[in-house]
């Protein structure tokens, strides 16, 4: 018998038991839908994060004090590291040390809030360079000006505020020239940023930026920085600039062994790589869980196939009596198993795609995320191949059993 006829015979066999066939593949359908959903959400999350990181700019290099954090607690620790100081900034600014550096500004984080006439607003307070901030986040000024080198040098008490801060305190008036308080110190507002939203996890609209020198001296009382933000003159030169920065800082800090570095460098590319790694580990882990579910589904298929073989003993006997060889019977039942699992796989891909799409709609409309629906044809193909594999692995034993039935035993069976 030709393969095509085995295939046709299998379809007829499955049609006879429609409801059972549907129930049998349910496990496979759910498993494959889960795989499609996991891949889609993984890809969506990656796109979302990359989109947000994109705002940081490919040429941006961030230097942070301490050892590279391995977890959230390490990150908190970096706030108390004092290894990055003005001396480092001076060294990095020198052309002969870092030739491709185009801009540099240190930053400090001022925890707390901002207040105006007794009202407080939970803001992100930064001591930074307003010019670099504006450029890095591609932010527009709604009114006023940005403070410059002079204000930084003079440790002036001036601030630039985001649009949410403005809306909170000055809904109907121009805040430029008004004074807000951070840690009991008055800061004169010189500029207001236009609404922008979140970039790299910061809500720009909730920012309050003051000169870093002022924040260091009057708000924190420290002489070191929480981070140093550097821009290379082009994205291609980021790699070489990172090396120049490392060499310069090691020289200034008297470090010969790179494993003893008291600073670490973050670039957009590095972050993208890291996030990609985390997401793929997560995807693999979840897929493994789904894989177990699929094995369980496969065992279910085997179970039902065995029942079906027993039930159809008479049919097997008849087929043998009219000329079917053992191979024909084996092919028929194996095809039935594969057909079952592959149709389960295809249904799973479609259902998975549907739920991925639904997830995208929900996340966009109800969670306010800028989520893009993504459907990986690779994952779909993988799902179908895996389901065919399950059909073969779990179908072979029942098929073998069917083929070994003796025709007379089979015909005698009542």
């Amino acid at each position: 018998m030709k393969l095509y006829h085995s295939f046709k015979t299998s379809i007829i066999g499955l049609r006879v038991n429609r409801v059972r066939s549907l129930l049998t593949i349910l496990g496979i359908v759910i498993g494959i839908s889960a795989i499609i959903l996991i891949f889609s959400i993984g890809k969506g999350a990656e796109n979302l994060i990359l989109d947000q990181l994109g705002g940081m700019g490919a040429e941006t290099i961030v230097v942070r004090p301490g050892q590279e954090p391995k977890g959230p607690s390490d990150f908190a620790e970096s706030l108390f590291q004092d290894s990055l100081t003005t001396k480092d900034i001076e060294a990095l600014k020198r052309k002969e040390n870092v030739p491709h550096l185009s801009q540099i500004a240190p930053a400090v984080i001022v925890p707390g809030s901002v207040s105006y006439r007794g009202e407080t607003f939970k803001s992100f307070n930064f001591g930074w360079s307003a010019e670099l901030m504006k450029e890095m986040y591609d932010a527009e000024l709604e009114s006023g000006i940005v403070f410059g080198e002079k204000e930084i040098r003079n440790k002036a008490s001036v601030a630039i505020i985001g649009s949410d801060v403005k809306d909170e305190f000055f809904p109907y008036e121009d805040p430029v020239g008004k004074n807000v308080k951070i840690k009991d110190r008055n800061f004169k507002i010189v500029g207001v940023l236009a609404p922008k939203g979140s970039i790299s996890g910061f809500n720009i609209d909730e920012l309050v930026v003051v000169p870093y020198s002022t924040a260091q001296k009057y708000l924190l009382g420290i002489d070191y920085y929480h981070e140093v933000i550097i821009k290379a003159d082009s994205p291609e030169n980021v790699e070489i600039t990172v090396r120049d920065i490392e060499d310069t800082l090691r020289e200034v800090h008297d470090i010969t062994d790179s494993s003893k570095d008291d600073f670490f460098i973050v670039t957009q590319e590095g972050m993208v790589d890291q996030i990609g790694t985390i997401l793929s580990v997560l995807t693999i882990f979840l897929s493994a869980v789904v894989g177990i579910a699929l094995v369980v589904g496969g065992v279910g298929v085997m179970n039902i196939m065995l029942v079906s073989v027993t039930e159809r003993t008479r049919e097997i006997g008849l087929r043998k009596a009219i000329g079917a060889t053992n191979k024909d019977i084996m092919a028929q039942f194996l095809f039935e198993a594969i057909l079952l699992t592959v149709s389960g796989g295809i249904a799973g891909v479609l259902i998975g795609a549907f739920f991925s799409f639904l997830t995208a709609i929900i996340l966009t409309n109800f969670a306010g995320l800028d989520w893009t629906f993504s459907f990986s044809t690779g994952a779909a193909l993988l799902g179908i191949v895996v389901s065919a594999g399950i059909g073969i692995v779990f179908g072979i034993y029942p098929a073998k059993k069917a083929s070994q039935k003796s025709p007379i035993e089979a015909l005698r069976y009542e």
């Binding site: 007829i12 087929r319 009219i322 000329g323 079917a324 060889t325 025709p407 015909l411």
Partner: protein, 239 residues
């Protein structure tokens, strides 16, 4: 002298069951010439079904020699036996063994699936076989919609579709009322007139009367083997 189509010599079959050995056949010998219509009779447990399974390549004898068309059957592989069953033999079973929820046409086509005959001829062959048992008006009906007499006619059409040399009929009227039983025997008799070799297994003397030779089996041995001088003709059924 004509060369026999089937020749068995001292055939024995022993089953090893839990309760010990069962000797279903204890040395059976006879020849069947092409075109003969033989009835094999015997009470239940006499070994007549076992004999049919041997002759139809559904089982192998424990001892003895079986020649089919002059070839020694014990030398055939499983696949060769399957091929012979498909090409040379048609089975008609007491319980019909039709596929449920499948049309008459597809049931009759089933042996062609396993044959070397080109697919383009399948519909034609199956339709002709169905016409020969007067069921053309039921061709697209599913088998569970048919009466039991019609079901047996479908199973005869299925046995005929590959144009085999021998038809083995195992109690073909056993499940039927006398009227449809007579109709079935008429069809079988007609096949005999057309030149087919027929081996009929039955325990009813009346049905056996359609054959022109009767072999009686008892306790796994041939009890008698004689010609029937005036066998029953088509349309003669009554009970």
């Amino acid at each position: 002298m004509q060369k026999p189509l089937i020749s068995v010599k001292d055939i024995e079959k022993t089953y090893n069951d839990e309760g010990g050995e069962t000797r279903a056949l204890r040395g059976v010998s006879f020849d069947v010439n092409p075109g003969e219509f033989i009835a094999i009779m015997g009470p239940s447990g006499s070994g007549k079904s076992t004999l049919l399974h041997m002759l139809g390549f559904l089982d192998r004898p424990t001892k003895g020699e079986y020649k089919f068309s002059g070839r020694i059957a014990s030398n055939f592989s499983d696949d060769e036996q399957a091929h012979l069953r498909n090409e040379k033999i048609g089975f008609v079973f007491q319980a019909f063994n039709l596929l449920p929820k499948t049309s008459v046409l597809d049931n009759v086509k089933l042996p062609l699936f396993y044959s070397d005959i080109e697919e383009s001829k399948w519909n034609d062959l199956a339709t002709r076989a169905i016409n020969s048992v007067d069921l053309s008006h039921r061709i697209h009906h599913e088998t569970q919609q048919l009466s039991i007499g019609e079901k047996q006619r479908v199973s005869i059409a299925r046995a005929l579709v590959t144009d085999p040399d021998v038809i083995f009929a195992d109690e073909p009227t056993g499940n039927l009322d006398s009227k449809s039983g007579g109709l079935i025997m008429d069809i079988i008799k007609r096949l005999h007139y057309k030149g087919k070799t027929i081996i009929l297994i039955t325990h009813e003397t009346y049905t056996a009367g359609y054959a022109d030779r009767m072999i009686k089996i008892r306790d796994g041995k041939v009890e008698s083997d004689e010609k029937i001088e005036s066998s029953r003709k088509i349309g003669e059924f009554k009970k």
